[in-house]
């Protein structure tokens, strides 16, 4: 016979479990529409305030490696964007130190500590999907950024969405600018990062067909020159290439090492397309005869990822594009004042003109006061 006591206990237990279940992850994160296949540009971005929601949540950035200026500025952009929502109670940053097992452990720790949102840079590639899958099935909104073209993983299962640029588009854009500025004729050297890395590989797929259309353009090295993104190595290799090729007319490089090699050798600077960096801007400002274009360094991509993830966690749709086409930040061959060289010698040479942070915020991110 059910006594009144046991009955009331039963009802209380049932009620408690319902309450817990409803509070834990009140929102089904897969319900929000995040437009993962939509393409667009920075102009299509919406303000963070549209996606804040009301439920208090904790957000985290799991980085694969935090050790350089680009990562510091990206982190600051993430923290800046998160500060725009008063219901975000904590922003955390974890550094995987280039070790996949550490990044996996970081993400698992964040799940255990009940973070509702994880945006992440997957340096470890597909190896980290194990952790992001775990997070997604635990109800955490995971959105990786800068995954590049054709990143493995099932949307909805391994992560909710990814916010990324297309490196193939970057390669094509750089190639087209070089061709235009060289008037279809010249010798070009394309630099890459670590040997075989996917970013350089994707860029190559972008620029090869463009150059192939112009018989007057000659790409001097079969494969992009590997530099490990180390400006010193790039500078050293360029010294050898300058000796090897009497005429180098155009260069694509993500570091400024090659420019220094040309300067050290006393050779005229080639036409140059690179990634937005204050060092590059000031080199161009110091050498007005140099023709330079810089492509957006997209440190703001993490903001888009955060908006997507927070929207999902709060059950709000985010119609912004997920696949972003980058544009030029500077172009010395253009008369558009928005593309003027942005050198500011009071800023650290590692700061990034295309960043969405204020100058003061960038200085702080790079360790200054």
């Amino acid at each position: 016979m059910l006594s009144a006591r046991s009955l009331s206990f039963g009802v209380a237990a049932l009620g408690l479990s319902f309450a817990i279940a409803s509070v834990a992850y009140a929102v089904d994160i897969t319900k929000a529409k995040l437009a993962p296949d939509k393409k667009g540009t920075v102009a299509d971005f919406l303000p963070m305030s549209k996606f804040c929601g009301t439920t208090p949540i904790k957000v985290a950035l799991s980085d694969g490696w935090g050790g350089n200026y680009w990562r510091h500025i990206t982190r600051a952009e993430f923290e800046d964007e998160a500060s725009k929502c008063s219901n975000i109670t904590e922003t955390r940053y974890t550094d995987g130190e280039f070790k996949p097992e550490k990044q996996i452990a970081d993400i698992e720790g964040l799940i255990a500590q009940k973070f509702a949102v994880i945006v992440t840079f997957l340096d470890g590639g597909a190896a980290i999907l194990k952790a992001t899958r775990e997070a997604t099935s635990a109800g955490v909104a995971v959105v990786p950024y800068d995954t590049g073209d054709n990143f493995p993983g099932v949307i909805g299962k391994d992560y909710l969405d990814r916010a990324t640029e297309s490196q193939a588009q970057v390669g094509a854009m750089a190639a087209e600018w070089l061709v235009k500025t060289l008037h279809g004729k010249g010798n070009i050297i394309m630099y890459g990062g670590t040997p075989g890395n996917p970013m350089t590989a994707a860029q190559t797929l972008g620029w090869r067909p463009v150059f192939a259309k112009y018989p007057g353009i000659k790409v001097l090295e079969q494969e992009p020159v590997p530099t490990n993104w180390d400006p010193a190595l790039a500078q050293q290799k360029t010294a050898a290439l300058i000796a090897k090729y009497p005429k180098i007319d155009g260069v694509y490089s993500e570091t400024t090492g090659p420019i220094r090699a040309f300067l050290a050798a006393g050779k005229p600077l080639p036409v140059y397309v690179g990634q937005s960096l204050m060092d590059l801007s000031c080199l161009a400002a110091d050498h007005p005869e140099m023709k330079m274009a810089s492509i957006d360094a997209h440190t703001w991509m993490v903001r888009l990822a955060l908006r997507k993830a927070v929207a999902a966690a709060e059950g709000i749709d985010d119609p912004e594009p997920s696949l972003i086409s980058l544009s030029f930040t500077e172009d010395t061959t253009s008369s558009d004042p928005k593309l003027a060289v942005k050198c500011d010698k009071s800023m650290p040479m590692d700061s990034i003109p295309s960043s969405m942070l204020s100058k003061a915020q960038q200085i702080k991110a790079l360790g200054g006061k």
């Binding site: 050790g67 200026y69 400006p231 050898a240 290439l241 050798a265 040479m349």
Partner: protein, 330 residues
């Protein structure tokens, strides 16, 4: 017996056992051979402009390698080269904060050199007095220094003071200042090692520590001083690197870890010590490696093929003299 005599009759000039030739000469011959082959395979690498462009990289590697050479001579192995170089580079570049005041720039350069020597001394004390194996000590010191480097620089690299840049990018009598600095450092080191009592004692300690101890040489003091001097060399190389690169990154010292060891080995020095060794051979070894890097780039090997080519050529350079010695004795 009869065979040996016939051999000698045929090649009278090579009558000595190869191992009796001075290290420097053997190192020079190996390098000359590489340059010869390189000149045929990629003629663009041996014109004046090409050689002049490799000199700064050669000089920086050579100065750091001299430090490594001293440690290896004392039967040690210094795996903190990268850490000391990166930390010294940060001190010399970030702390002056772009100042144009010569006093400030020179102060921080001197500080970087002093820190290099001090770190080396600490390593030496841990190895010589606390008897912690050199490999373990230097790996630990390296990790601490990288941590400190990140702490001071917060990961961002800084531009070297303009004064430093103009000095290290300049040329004196058409030759880069970094090269003149190398000549100065190498010359001083060779002079001290061969013409001073201190230097002779150092060689005695490397060749036969037991005998040296028996004649009253303070082994531990020499050990500590060796690491301190090596630290000073790495810091000097780091200052040169910062000036030449203009914007040294936090990890700028990394390539010099194995590079310096390779230079010592390619020079023909024994990793186990117990031989006289030759600083000149190490410096020539550094040139071998620097020229090889240029050659491999000029030959157009991509990424991984480059590493393979590097490895094969270095192995040949080291194995060839040994092979020839065995052939002679067979």
């Amino acid at each position: 017996m009869a065979d040996a005599r016939i051999f000698r009759l045929r090649m009278p000039r090579l009558s000595k056992d190869l191992s009796e030739y001075p290290l420097a000469l053997k190192s020079f011959v190996a390098t000359a051979l590489l340059v010869l082959i390189g000149g045929v395979a990629a003629p663009s690498t041996i014109n004046a402009a090409a050689i002049l462009s490799t000199l700064p990289y050669f000089a920086i590697l050579a100065v750091a390698s001299i430090g490594q050479h001293l440690v290896i001579q004392q039967r040690g192995l210094d795996l903190s080269t990268a850490g000391i170089m990166s930390f010294a580079a940060v001190i010399a570049t970030k702390l002056p904060n772009g100042s144009n005041d010569p006093a400030v720039v020179i102060f921080y350069i001197a500080l970087a050199l002093a820190v290099g020597a001090a770190v080396g001394a600490v390593t030496g004390i841990i190895v010589a007095l606390l008897r912690v194996p050199t490999l373990v000590t230097t790996i630990g010191v390296n990790a601490i220094l990288f941590g400190l480097t990140y702490f001071v620089s917060t990961g961002a690299s800084v531009q070297s003071p303009p004064m430093m840049v103009s000095f290290f990018e300049a040329r004196f009598l058409q030759v880069p200042t970094t090269f003149w600095l190398l000549l100065l450092v190498a010359g001083l080191t060779v002079f001290v090692l061969t013409r001073t009592t201190v230097g002779r004692r150092f060689i005695a300690v490397s060749v036969n520590p037991t005998a040296a101890h028996a004649v009253g040489v303070a082994l531990r003091t020499y050990s500590i001083a060796t690491y301190a001097l090596a630290g000073l060399m790495y810091a000097t190389a780091a200052v040169m690197l910062s000036g030449y690169l203009v914007s040294p990154t936090v990890l700028c010292g990394l390539p010099y870890l194995l590079g310096t060891i390779a230079a010592v080995v390619v020079g023909g020095n024994s990793l186990g010590g117990l031989t006289k060794g030759s600083v000149v051979a190490t410096v020539i070894g550094a040139f071998f490696l620097t020229y090889l890097a240029q050659l491999v780039t000029a030959l157009g090997f991509g990424g991984s093929a480059e590493d393979l080519a590097d490895a094969i050529i270095v192995l040949s350079g080291v194995a060839l003299p040994e092979l020839m010695r065995r052939v002679r004795h067979a």
